[in-house]
Symmetry: T
Subunit: 156 residues, 12 copies
């Protein structure tokens, strides 16, 4: 059986891997939600919002890969399956069907806000047990807060 | 309210949009399953399988985008949310945790086989109502069957 | 004198070359109309519409080249001269002068709609006589219907 | 209604915008004529002439865009519609059908010669009222005269 | 022993794999013949024909790879060995030694014509048993017919 | 001490170097103003305006470098320090704080208009003393007037 | 009115936004000072110093954009106007006119030293209130200290 | 008739052209054999071997082109037709059908070994009569021996 | 003599420069060890391991350059000479000669593990005296731990 | 015999073609002189001067091509043969052998100065007869004066 | 004074540097002759010959740089000045004025033939005294003989 | 155990492998020495020398890889470990600490001179036993002698 001797103590590993697993689920869901609205947005800002959402998708996919591989690097199996994401995501339910552009922007403001709040908790939680993982989470938070600003400004 | 006058009759539209929506769910799940195993595979073929899986992810993501936008182009809202994928995918349950490389390859052989079987049904179902959608589904099937061969050969 | 022995029978060649010549005229006119509005659009969505129209121009130019060379490959001389386009295009008259962005989007919705309707007839007409030409026309229709969706959503 | 306060006086604006509108029509027609012969040329120099013509198309398309946007920048709506081009171009009628390579080269020599003569008049006419527009027309003339030389040399 | 459960019935698989194997042999031989003349052509059109032939080589090599891998994807071993090609190709014997440019162009017109005729039969034969393979063969036929036109026009 | 023997007479050099130094200050300030609004714009056109402003920044930075190095090439030291820019710019005061998108576009229309008016005077002033410097200023004016059109059209 | 609910408390936000606004002003001025000397440097090391200074400009421009957008992401309007920079920069006055290369290098050593000292204070000040902003400031400091070393070594 | 006055004497030309013609046949066959196994390999090392074989194909194709054009440059017509290759290659018969990965690697070890042995004889034979051709053959031998090592190490 | 006034106190500088000098030696040795095994690995995983090792070399070379220049930026001369590396590296002795692939992977697991352990100590040691250097060491540790995971998984 | 009907009168053509032919000879010689010193420069500024001289070569080669083709476009045969250059260049004799870096820079200052003086006369001479040729000569003068500044500053 | 202790004995150095200096003069003249005909060629093969000549220019320029720097590396000053080239080149006089395409090709056949004959003598002369220089001359000869073949074939 | 049947006799193999192993050690040490001085150089030529040294590093790294893989291709295990390099290099001891630029250049002149002398012996030694290895060593010597010239000229 595959066992990795982690550079962290068991207690620290538990804290850090929970933070990373939570981040993974949030980021995968963010990529799915952003794509969902990318396809369903309607209205005079269609093209602007459609394109901006693909930047969110790119950011979310890259970071989800980094976080999952960081999890593996610490010797803990990451879980990014659809059912896990559907259950564990910190983003609220996205309604089905077409969505007008103002609502679309608002949905992203809410989704990013929810993920950022949880990311900041993870940044705080990982500082002591593993500054390497924390540094990754800090970088993710910076990118998400930049996206958050742009969607807020778009509806400002 | 947003209504698009589709180039297809109502009956044809129903058939085609069901095929496209089904393909969308399968392809998103394929991308998530391939990533899951990309992160969790273990064994002497780790690097080969790890890299090959990212090619599957790329293929699945590109085609899922094409299929969803084709759906929208016909005037039907596509649904690619996590919960929809978790419930509707044609791929069986992927077990959690580390997976040895032979099992990993076998999982992909099964997953691709399941999706291909449903894709071939969709190719047949869309031929009459919409040859444009059918052509897209044929191209997807060709790519999936190529991947299917490579994973079969890897475990051959 | 230059005569090409076509792979098609005379009757089939007549059907197919008429479809291709018609598609050529429509696509050249689409590229000219899109450029005309690209230059004349005015309003709060100026930049979005201005940029989107250049994507239509790129699509229309590439497909017009493919269609004309397909015509030549079957041994029939293609005709893409200005006067031929002015007379034979399926797109209605584009009014001169500045155009506000909502009207601009609407003009494209109409122009694309008109061309798509004729393309679908050509897809049907060429299926039996020449599946190779049909496959080209199917690909063009897919691209035009995607553009059609995006302009409809923009005014949705 | 959209009105731009031009940096030019009314009289100067009239002179300059006529020069630009004339250049626009000539350049669009040059791009269409070059494509027409690109598709219809036949003979031992087919490949050379076919490729050289695409360079003319590229040059003509780039400059037509610059000229039309310069027109808009001065506050005058440019007109590049098919019917306008068919009526107003300075290039003589291009016969339909296949064309042998020597005739093809000669047709371009004539077409470029006609456009160049009109461009040189526009260069002279715009010198006083708007050196900025003149500079653009000078650059276009340089490119067209280079193409003119190459087609003359090809039949020399 | 390596056995793949094909998505096609045995009868359909036999038809389709024969079409693909035949296409493979023709395309490899086309690449060899085009290279042979690329090296041996002589005359005032040397450079044009020399370069055009390398485009044929590129097209033939890419499609031969696609066809062979499609064969494998259906569970049938492809055969592209020199002896198989020498015996099974649909292209007539290419004479050895230097070849003047007019003859070179004529040789390609004949070689492409022979391959195209067999490709069109394969397109017809695969329509029912496997639209996925047919779609690949249609795309190949389109490319070959474009090359066929250009060599015909070169000697036109 | 560093003295360059200029190709221009003293009188001409004075005229030309004043024109270039003035252009340098205007262009640096334009780049700072465009960045300021790039960061502070708010509203439904946020993304469009935000991106368009970065194109202004790129244009202004490239031209300021060309103008300053032209100044040096004539043997006159250019001055692009913050205090010099703050005092000498032809652009009016930009208010601090967030700015809604319509005001943002209007600010650029005004800023570009002010710089263009001064540039046209410089084009006229340098024609006799140094056609080389004039040619550079003409090219800058063309780019600024193109940007001016696009912002006017955006608020048109 | 545009109000962003910041992820930081009011006290923390005040500390962090002051640090970011100060960094913004320093970095913009650094880019202007480096350009000023890039244009005015004279002496046997002209080319080396001229090129090295453009690397400083690139670094300073990229980081100023990151810092300003970070400020906006926290809900505080950044101020990068010329007058603000002229007054608030931590870099001493740069004398006008030509500058010999040794003095030029010394000027950069001093300018970078001044900015670095203030950056290190900002790194310390932001550690508690916002590790995300601190991480950005740490990265900037690393780049500036690398440039500082290279200019010191150049005059060493 | 086309006759080139070779820079070599008749006797030297005979030696050198035989060496080059022999190398041409070996290299074309090497490219066909490598592709054959690229398509037919099966087993746990499928992906590694499949990819490595395409590097052999690239090497063999590039060198075969160089050798054939060197032949032509000396005034001797090269012969790379399928039948010539099938008869004259120094590589033993490749069996048809699927091949397991260990056998696949062994086949390449043998094929490369056979070609290298003949190449070394050609290097020796051409040293005196034509150091220019020898230098080309030396470069080819270096590349083949590098590939030979990698396949030996793969089965080591 | 060359003296740099460091931004750190003498005590802090001693701690930080020892950490950086130690990291430099470890990273250079890691690049040499990875190359050594890149050349000497033998076995069925030859190609996978051979390629993965070049990624380690790239990572180690980039980070060694960053660390050495960081050392210089603090005013302390870095030492990366062969003898210094041979004596001071934290990696155990690599045996000479060919190495089978399983041993090769194990050697990297050990080498990376040894370097990571020391890096984590350096991360802890530099936190107080210099967060800028610490941030660089954290980024290096993240990359090394990712490589560590992949080699562990390869032998898992 | 090859005769081109020039767009210029005979008198104007004589003036313009003499200017262009003179520019051609100067620019070719400039490229040869710059290469000569590129190879022969010696001294502490070797690398800086060596690299800067290759930028002069690039500039001179590009402009010589433009000028010669402009000459041909006007129907006058350009002459860029070595003997013509050796006799007609406006650049003084470059001494043979190694050259120290200060002398090398001085040689370029002189060579560029001589060519610029003649270029400015050509700019004046061509203004009336052909503004298109004048515009090309103005652009060349701008580039040469920029190089002139940089070599003056290097020895300043 | 600058003296380099050459790796060659005085006698060997004399032989080798004469060979390199001779090659330098021939290659520079070849680049000038090819450009001269590139501009002056006329006739139905204008475009083919015009483009092929630029490939000769590129080859001749690259090799002349290599040869001159090889000369410098041996401690002997290379001489590539116009007068040296005009006197010492092995290429016969190129007549002035327009040249029809057949003559143009013939001129290149002769020019390349003359240079190749001298290059082969240099290859023989340098074998013993400096195999490093010989290897460079062998590579140049291979490229020139390839060009020689293509021009012979063009007129064949 | 891994044994490769070398294409060389035992005696020849011994001679060639010693030459290659010696070259490997020299080239690795050259890369380490060049990096050491790249980091430690100080003085007015800092930037020039710093950059030139990275070109030496690139050259040395590429050639060391080629030489080591050539060694492996002949069936002999290469040894590039730090201790082997520290003991066996032909380059003298590089002193620790900062180094002024003139000394830095001199160190490279000496280091390159030492390696070149040994390389020329290896070129002579390998001519008979293996012209393939000799050709590689000749190419390396050419590159090193070019670098040697540039550092000599820099201190000339």
């Amino acid at each position: 059986m595959y066992v990795v001797k982690s550079p962290l103590s068991d207690a620290n590993l538990k804290t850090v891997s929970e933070a990373l697993q939570g981040a993974l689920v949030d980021l995968i869901d963010l990529s799915l939600v952003a794509k969902q609205i990318h396809w369903n947005v309607v209205g005079p800002r269609f093209r602007s919002v459609h394109l901006q959402l693909d930047e969110v998708v790119t950011v979310a996919r890259q970071h989800s890969d980094t976080v999952a591989e960081r999890c593996a690097a610490l010797g803990v199996s990451p879980d990014g399956r659809a059912a896990t994401v559907a259950v564990g995501s910190g983003i609220g339910v996205t309604p089905e069907g077409w969505v007008d552009d103002t609502t679309a922007v608002g949905t992203l403001v809410d989704a990013l806000g929810a993920v950022i709040a949880r990311m900041r908790e993870r940044v705080a939680a990982t500082e002591e047990p593993d500054p390497v993982s924390q540094d990754i989470l800090i970088g993710i938070t910076a990118d998400l807060e930049k996206q958050h600003w742009m969607f807020q400004a778009e509806n400002g």
